[in-house]
């Protein structure tokens, strides 16, 4: 079982991101389950969504408390909560930001027992270039595929095509590829220095 938790704000596509991940995992023949934290949907309010996949049917229906990966769509959430809570010691952490760990103030957040495999991707900035809007979903999922190597970028693209159509699909697809490439370079660099 692999479990991903996504943190963002209402309107950023937090729920859609988890759904896209589940479609991508399904495309690779896995059993997948995606679900949001349920609440009164409001633009800008903190939202959490979840996706788990497995080689076996998934029966459990509890929120993900100890994720293998965390995707942080909006780093301003760091001011009010700890989105990394419960992240497994060697889990993956993908953050949407133009800043560095030092600038984000998270360089001291992890102990020697917990060293996540981290990638910071300017997903919103790239999204503005491709979509004209700071909607980081496709970018982050492209980067997720590169960072973890657990899902093929082709599956991510397939999920995007299933969920969107026309220009929206092709632009998101390009954005996903762009961030896939960025993350591939950066994650390799990270592994070398680590």
């Amino acid at each position: 079982m692999f479990e991903v938790r996504i943190h963002g704000r209402g309107g950023q596509g937090v729920v859609t991101a988890a759904e896209l991940l589940s479609i991508a995992a399904f495309a690779e023949g896995k059993y997948a389950q995606a679900f949001p934290t349920f609440g009164s949907e409001r633009m800008g309010a903190p939202v959490v969504s979840f996706c788990r996949w497995s080689e076996h049917p998934i029966r459990v229906r509890e929120p993900i408390a100890t994720p293998d990966a965390v995707i942080l769509q909006d780093p301003t959430l760091l001011q009010s909560a700890n989105p990394f809570h419960g992240l497994k010691p060697s889990g993956w952490l993908l953050i949407n930001s133009d800043l560095t760990t030092e600038e984000l103030g998270i360089s001291n957040l992890f102990s020697t027992e917990c060293i996540p495999r981290l990638s910071i991707i300017p997903a919103s900035s790239v999204a503005v270039r491709y979509l004209g809007k700071p909607l980081p979903n496709a970018c982050l999922l492209g980067a997720f595929a590169a960072l973890t190597g657990l899902l093929n970028i082709d599956s991510v693209v397939r999920a995007i095509r299933e969920k969107f159509s026309g220009h929206l699909a092709s632009r998101n697809e390009s954005a996903a590829h762009a961030c896939y490439d960025i993350a591939l370079e950066r994650s390799l660099a990270y592994v070398e220095t680590a």
């Binding site: 059993y31 679900f35 949001p36 998934i58 029966r59 229906r61 509890e62």
Partner: protein, 417 residues
């Protein structure tokens, strides 16, 4: 075909395959996506002939369904929570008049306090309204049960609620094997109404019945429900033959062979329970579980037989009868009167509180050590309760309990933080 979909979408697809002729809808979270899906199919012409009616309230939604059903149309609607309560009068009318309407309930708590999250309070409030109630434990069942429900409803001329855990199931994205039209057509014949309003053959439906016959009309309604206990297993076999998977069982036992302790529950929590059963079986504990798929009529004999060898039953209720306890627990008590068995009632998951494996395991282990009380509230925050009771002891004009407790939560968080 296997597709990764939101369960609400899968339900809409399954309902469309049943060829409803009238769909009436009033939006209420968390069932909205289902009727939105059906509205889309009607607009695109995928579902035809079918009339989609936007109505002004839930009361109207079911009233329109009753009217449609009375003219011989296959009618469908969906609702949840306060919406179901708002249509309560029509709910009794639909069953009392014997119209085979199918209605999805996206199970949700009832206010006050206002709460939009999942539990079973809504359909429980109307469990005695004369509708049959089927509970989906998985995304696949959530879709399939609608196909079974139309056939069951029409064979008995009695309406059926398909209860699907709001958000937990309705908003979950999962793979579902959607049948093709030919399969559904083979399982579900054209609707042949037992009673129909037709100007060519004028009859009236909805007589006033006094003391001379009201008991007999009610007795027949009861007998009709009991017939479902024989019919549903037959339909389930039919379903399996056509769709190559089971659906519509009265109960689904899991690892109950030789189990000393059996957990009984309704709905989607059964998946989590089965994971815990596996964990505990691996640790050598003698435990199994039963998912109750048909809640009304209640399968008394099936429950009694499946638990005959057990010495303990833990019933998980996702609703509460204040002043009494677990509602399903009371039904299980009734069913197992002649078994030498101890029954523990556990209230869990009210108003959307997640039911986790660790909490379930703790409560099952405690029950197996015979250290569990007869009624337990899972993960109850006793500190909050104590604070409020203390407040009530100290002063008369405490103000509203809900607001006070929310204030206490913030204060405790500040003390810790």
């Amino acid at each position: 075909m296997l597709r990764q979909l939101e369960t609400s979408r899968s339900i809409a697809e399954a309902v469309a395959l049943c060829r409803p002729e009238v769909v009436c809808a009033y939006p209420i979270t968390p069932q909205t996506h289902i009727v939105e899906g059906l509205a889309e199919f009607v607009r695109e012409g995928r579902l035809r002939p079918c009339e989609f009616l936007n109505v002004e309230s839930e009361f109207a939604a079911l009233s329109v369904a009753i009217g449609a059903s009375a003219t011989g149309a296959r009618a469908y609607t969906a609702t949840a929570s306060q919406g179901l309560l708002f249509m309560a009068e029509a709910v009794y009318n639909a069953s009392g008049l014997g119209f085979p309407i199918v209605m999805t309930i996206g199970n949700r708590a009832i206010g006050a306090p206002i709460n939009i999250w999942n539990d079973h309070s809504d359909s429980m409030a109307l469990r005695d309204a004369g509708w049959m109630q089927l509970f989906a434990s998985t995304a696949q069942e959530a879709a399939d049960l609608h196909i079974v429900a139309f056939r069951l409803a029409e064979e008995l001329s009695c309406p059926v609620m398909v209860c699907v855990d709001g958000f937990v199931l309705t908003h979950s994205y999962e793979a579902v094997d959607l049948p093709v039209q030919e399969q559904v057509d083979a399982f579900l014949p054209r609707y042949e109404p037992r009673q129909v309003l037709d100007p060519a053959i004028p009859v009236s439906v909805g007589a006033m019945v006094g003391p001379e016959a009201f008991t007999e009309v009610r007795y027949l309604a009861h007998q009709k429900q009991l017939r479902a206990l024989d019919l549903l297993p037959e339909l389930s076999r039919d379903f399996a033959n056509i769709f190559s998977r089971p659906c519509g069982a009265l109960i689904s036992p899991y690892r109950t062979d030789g189990a000393n302790t059996i957990v009984v529950a309704l709905g989607s929590v059964n998946g989590t329970i089965q994971d815990v059963v596996d964990e505990m079986r691996e640790a050598g504990r003698s435990i199994g579980s039963i998912s109750v798929g048909c809640y009304r009529p209640f399968p008394m004999c099936a429950v009694a037989e499946a638990t005959a060898q057990a010495s303990r039953i833990v019933v998980i209720d996702r609703s509460l009868a204040p002043g009494m306890g677990g509602i399903l627990a009371a039904d299980v008590h009734m069913a197992t009167q002649s078994n030498p068995v101890r029954i523990f009632s556990v209230i869990a998951g009210l108003g959307g509180r997640p039911i986790t494996r660790s909490s379930l395991r703790r409560v099952f282990e405690t029950a197996m050590d015979d250290a569990l009380g007869q009624l337990t509230f899972l993960d109850l925050q006793t500190e909050l309760i104590e604070r409020h009771l203390e407040r009530e002891r100290k002063m008369w004009n405490t103000g509203p309990a809900a607001e006070n407790i929310l204030y206490d939560i913030q204060r405790i968080a500040a003390e810790i933080g």
